[in-house]
Symmetry: C3
Subunit: 331 residues, 3 copies
């Protein structure tokens, strides 16, 4: 990449301008939610609550898992294109650090805008991570082909569209779900995941660099895969209703993920001419179990229902990846 | 490995048959526990509980740590046999994904079978991870020597035996512990760990591949070691009684683990002819502190009691590893 | 390193003597805190609390994140000096395992000594991890230049000084903060971090090995960076007051960290002659956002206030690193 004197200043200026804009917009719009404000003390007395009832304790462990998925999971998943190992992790870091700030604003304006302010709490951080997860996947499609500046711009538009889509489904189409559950919120996430996954996987297929994937790259990529797989139950349950809904979302996602591993191994081995396993299939399809059960994770699917979802997600995701040359299909 | 046309279909068919069997058995037997069921609402009103009293919030952070130990910890621990780096992580993933499903059924039938159903909740997931941890250790003994199909069959039998042994100790020998604590549950785990660790370490000693361990393999293996070491307090406390028992199990395990690091470094350095450290000793013995304190972790050992356990576990584990050529001994 | 017969025994004897001393001192001084003692039952009945009100459930998820920062975060951060990859992780493990035990005693004597005993609970473990974090940073400054024995001695003195400094600020200067919050406790941590970071970074600059940093080392170091960055909100909130304070400390740290990524990328790219990014800048400066907001993390900074802190921390930290040849400056 040739950088002339002008180009040289593009990245620094883009970063500083975006960050300065964030500071100003946060200054004007963002305040603490009642659970993160010193007025929590009044709220707590008024409702006769324990500090343990602060939203923080219901959400924080799940939030940290989702945060790890975005930064370690998606970051390292991309490293299997060996040439872009450090770039994958580093650029993912940059785009996610910008994306979460912009997502807090966009989602705040569209969903949590009361009076003149956005009220920020732990649930806001989780929603921002969900939104950025879709940008991380899209990043995979363009890895090695775009500059950091282009990445930041892409993230800006993706986060904007994601939030607007979320608004249309939730507020204009009135597709409200009784319990205020995550079903609609995650629809947007999986819409983004699906669209970009298509682009992402096709691109990998065509990519010359794929062939240069080597031993160590595979192990680094497995770090990404495992962190995504392990923490997906947190992803699907992070903003579920308190109590049994959050509990059930974890059980269902866990079952679906376990089932998708076996069926994707089956298909991967069946299509390989010498019965070997293709690591890319495993990475692709095992995660399909988490995506597939996502929107319905907190419903009364029953454990066997979740296994069936995972069974078919692993099956079709791997078959789709192998046989659909135009695009791979993720249920 | 030569795969003829017949062999080619062995892995796909094994995976699909096992997974289909799981779907059917889950369909017949597994239902949600009251804490994960929509009826939680009635339970909660009846007992006048907060949602925060749902078992989920007592267990979930520990569960995720144990889950990380099984998939990242054991997976990467095995990578120090450089030739099997990706295989180690990938096959560990496959056997664990199958093992947890089968363990949910076996442990459910033997311990949580009420009326006609197994009632599944977060504690069931933790117990399944415990059971599979013993399979992961056994896997280390046969790494590079067995096919994925053989691994799945081995896991099937190991999980079955583990659960039956657990049943004999707990229900037939009536070795109940007052608080319904983890002491008996973990006995089974450590029984499995001990038996297979013997096989595992001897095998490594003899293995030609050991010598080919290189710089990067060591670092990947350290990822495994550290995740096991860090999260062992969660492993030992995950199903302890609520409150002080769970708290105490963490303190004791933490102390024991810290002590075992120093004594195993001492022995490793003393036996090396130039005083250097052998990474395999460190990995073996530091974990001994967690295993050693396991069954008694929630008792009133006192912090110095836990340190003494760790002291001797690190000492004898490393000495045993070095001098017992027949088998290494893990307390 | 030439080890004669005498030297050969230095490390084993140092380890065993230190560990034996810890056992004796713990035996004399350390007992369980009421939240980890069987007497919790009486406490709970007396105050009519739920088990969920046990300090354990307020602190444990944050504790495990801080623990991961010390062992995985700092351990892997050091691996970018390629020659010392395994040594970095392994020696960090050794010094931290000793350091936490000594810190429990020193901090216990100076802050939690009631009657004749130190009462140990989950908050003690977190404070010990904080103290050891400063030793880990100091370790970076001497990596590859000291033996394990010297490291243990260095850790012994650093933990001692850290605790004494903490005592002077808190108890002699009477700099108490109303809520019993973390502001003072962390002052000590950041004092240590600041002093040693200076030494640490200058050393890296001068180090010949720096040039040998290669692809895989960078990826291993990114594991360290990401675990530190992701879990810094837990670090800054781990011993905050229950409820809104802990919640707010997380929000503020999260905002500050996100902002510091963009400004440090800006500076790193601006000073590079071809506009590229230097990974060492990213690692240094992104963490500055967490350090910078530390002491004030639980105050009513407002999200934009936290962004401003992160903005300037990333900016000055990277500029300082580049232009101050005497020492790099961390706010």
């Amino acid at each position: 990449m040739a950088w002339n004197t002008n180009l040289h200043w593009r990245l620094p200026i883009t970063c500083l301008v975006l960050q300065a804009a964030m500071v100003v917009l946060f200054g004007v719009f963002v305040r603490y939610d009642i659970h993160a404000d010193v007025h929590w003390w009044y709220e707590r007395n008024r409702k006769n609550l324990s500090n343990m009832e602060n939203e923080f304790y219901y959400r924080y462990p799940s939030f940290q898992d989702v945060h790890a998925m975005v930064f370690v999971g998606f970051g390292f998943l991309m490293t299997f294109l060996q040439r872009y190992g450090f770039g994958a992790v580093g650029f993912n870091f940059l785009l996610a650090a910008f994306g979460i700030q912009w997502a807090l604003l966009m989602q705040g304006w569209l969903h949590h805008f009361e009076g003149k302010h956005i009220y920020l709490g732990i649930e806001g951080l989780i929603n921002a991570d969900f939104c950025v997860a879709s940008s991380c996947v899209a990043f995979g499609a363009v890895l090695g082909k775009v500059s950091p500046v282009q990445l930041l711009i892409m993230t800006f538009f993706q986060v904007t569209l994601f939030s607007v889509n979320e608004y249309i489904v939730l507020n204009l189409l009135k597709a409200k779900d009784a319990g205020g559950s995550m079903t609609i919120h995650t629809f947007g996430a999986y819409f983004g995941l699906t669209v970009t996954w298509i682009l992402y996987r096709r691109n990998l297929e065509q990519s010359k660099q794929r062939q240069s994937s080597v031993y160590h790259s595979d192990l680094f990529a497995m770090i990404g895969t495992l962190f995504l797989w392990m923490y997906w139950p947190s992803f699907n349950s992070a903003i579920s209703n308190h109590g049994d809904s959050q509990h059930r979302a974890v059980l269902n996602t866990y079952c679906s993920l376990a089932a998708s591993v076996l069926t994707s191994v089956a298909v991967s081995s069946a299509v390989h001419k010498r019965g070997k396993l293709d690591m890319v299939h495993i990475q692709n399809a095992t995660l399909a179990g988490g995506v597939g059960v996502g929107t319905a994770a907190e419903m009364m699917l029953m454990p066997y229902g979740a296994l069936i979802v995972g069974f078919f997600c692993g099956l079709f995701s791997t078959l789709g990846f192998v046989y659909l040359t135009v695009a791979s299909w993720v249920p």
